[in-house]
């Protein structure tokens, strides 16, 4: 896909096989982490080969951001492994009568077929193909290390296969949990289930297992205490090309409206309805918000097709100066943030959920209003951020109060100084800062 990959047999570069179903031009969750990880290894002198899904999967189904492809380090070689996704097929001529007339029956049958090779609906059949691709890659140029980022969880299988057959060490980047439901905090798959058995085997053989936050690490360390020493937190962080230029709301004339902005995927688990109600309440009862406008940027739902329930909510909110502005390309992120005076962070529940968005938000130095389900792990990350304005709960009054406080912060005379202070705090969360210690440790593992 990118420029030619130069292989020099005399060069000592260690060969990383990086398995990430979602890789540019994907715009799916975790793609920025995948992109940053591949680039960081390449930047550290590794020869990096990525196994990922075909571009068409992202262009046709999940939604794509083709600009992301420009950000892939030219030294990274990308191998697209065929992936069929019948459940997300968009060509209706490929649909059979059963699927059209009895879609639930079709879905049930499809799910059974999917999980024959690997216990993951939708992705299980990919196992054979990515394992074959990994073996071919190892034959072409011996692999020194496999890093697999989940989900989908099937990504763990090539590393396990190369470890079993060729003794190659592997790392599981557990970007998301599998047997733990991160929103409810309860077990999603029982001990002894096929999923739990696969997870236990993957962890037992891994050189390292990475998690995106401390609560996730702690839960898994409790579940697999004998493996705790191999577990590490690699936070999502933000890209090194941020922080961004932000506009100085303190310099705005008193009558000029502040812009509250949300940038990210809006999914059914985020408290969007609560945000709209809080915004409406604030417009009616808080003078700080009376003239303010709100902009929501991002996809509505996990797929390219807008989720109807979310679309209905944003449509309803149009009458209270809250505008849905659609998805934003990665290359337009900086310009989008530059148009905001206050950021609104919406996250669904869970002590285990942080999202990468919180780090990017902090990197701007702007006031951040958080509308989080109780106990969300992002609160732990935001705790030291000097311009954090948390809604005490999800009631309209609490959300409006947090927004009013953020508006005062944005307009305050100390705003530029506070922005600089906030950006300084955020720098510890840069992706490269998060990844560097792990890459160094893995270099020592494969090239002692």
């Amino acid at each position: 896909m990118r420029g030619p990959f130069v292989t020099d047999p005399a060069a000592p570069a260690a060969h990383l096989l990086y398995v990430a179903w979602g890789f540019p031009p994907s715009r799916t969750g975790g793609v920025h982490r995948a992109l940053a990880t591949a680039n960081a290894f390449a930047g550290a002198g590794w020869a990096v080969t990525v196994l990922t899904a075909p571009r068409e999967v992202f262009l046709d189904v999940t939604g794509a951001d083709v600009a992301l492809e420009e950000l892939v380090d030219p030294r990274v070689q990308v191998r697209r492994v065929p992936f069929s996704w019948p459940a997300q097929q968009t060509d209706l001529r490929e649909f059979g009568p059963t699927r059209v007339l009895a879609p639930r029956l079709w879905a049930r049958t499809r799910a059974r077929l999917d999980t024959l090779a690997f216990p993951e609906v939708g992705y299980g059949p990919w196992r054979r193909r990515i394992e074959a691709a990994a073996l071919a890659e190892h034959a072409r140029r011996p692999v020194d290390l496999v890093v697999a980022t989940t989900n989908p969880q099937v990504s763990i299988s090539p590393g396990m296969r190369l470890a079993r057959e060729h003794g190659v060490p592997y790392v599981v980047d557990y970007r998301d949990a599998w047997t733990l439901h991160t929103y409810s905090g309860k077990r999603l798959h029982a001990q002894g289930s096929a999923q739990a058995r696969w997870e236990a085997r993957a962890f037992a053989g891994a050189a390292e297992v990475w998690f995106v936050n401390d609560p996730l690490l702690r839960w898994h360390a409790r579940t697999y205490p004998e493996l705790a020493s191999r577990m590490h937190v690699v936070m999502n962080g933000y890209d090194h090309d941020l922080p961004l230029p932000v506009r100085d709301a303190a310099a705005l004339p008193p009558g000029e409206a502040l812009t509250f902005g949300y940038l990210g995927t809006l999914t059914p688990v985020v408290p969007l309805r609560e945000l709209v109600d809080g915004w409406r309440f604030g417009q009616a009862h808080r003078p700080e918000l009376a003239a303010a406008v709100a902009e929501l940027h991002g996809y509505l739902g996990y797929y390219a097709t807008p989720e109807p329930g979310l679309a209905a909510i944003v449509d309803e909110a149009a009458d209270c100066r809250m505008r849905y502005a659609g998805p934003v390309s990665k290359t337009a992120v900086a310009a989008t943030y530059a148009g905001f005076d206050v950021l609104v962070l919406l996250l669904g529940g869970g002590e285990y959920v942080t999202s990468g968005k919180v780090f990017e938000y902090m990197s701007t130095g702007l006031p951040v209003v958080s509308v989080l389900a109780p106990g969300n792990a992002a609160a732990e990350v935001l705790a030291g951020y000097p311009r954090w304005h948390p809604a005490a709960d999800l009631s309209p009054a609490a959300i409006a109060a947090a927004m009013a406080a953020a508006a005062d912060d944005a307009r305050g005379p100390q705003s530029p100084a506070r922005a600089a202070q906030a950006q300084e705090f955020a720098r510890r969360f840069r992706r490269d800062v998060q990844l560097a210690p792990r890459i160094a440790a893995l270099r020592a593992l494969v090239r002692p």
């Binding site: 046709d60 968009t90 209706l92 649909f95 007339l101 009895a102 679309a311 209905a312 659609g326």
Partner: protein, 140 residues
Amino acid sequence: MNVVLVALGPSAPGDGMVAGVQALRRGGARVVLVSRQPPSPRLLEVLDSALPLPAGGGAAARSAAAAALNRLPKVRIDPDRLAAAWRLSHDLSTRALLDGAQVLVAVDRAAIPAVWFAARRRPQAAALSGLPAAVARYPG
């Protein structure tokens, strides 16, 4: 290129479709919507035209037929969807529209049977699920 969007779900086609319709029109397409619910004002503005799903009767007969079919284990046939498919393909106004289309798009899941049946009788037309799929295939 004539694109017919079909939306038969309970939600009104809303602003979330505006960008997709605009992209198709930038590519030179004429975009018409047939929907069970009226579209939002912003969406209506960017469409070439919008038609309501033709009205139909026989709800009791449809329900009885579906109930009989649904006695089969694990089969859940939605009588409204099949009836809508029938009306879309047999009403004179919408049938002419479908005959002249090069692209048929089921905007929501409820519209899939209708578009699927329509496409079987019109082999020249592409039949897609989801507006983004149409935009991806026919970018502006």
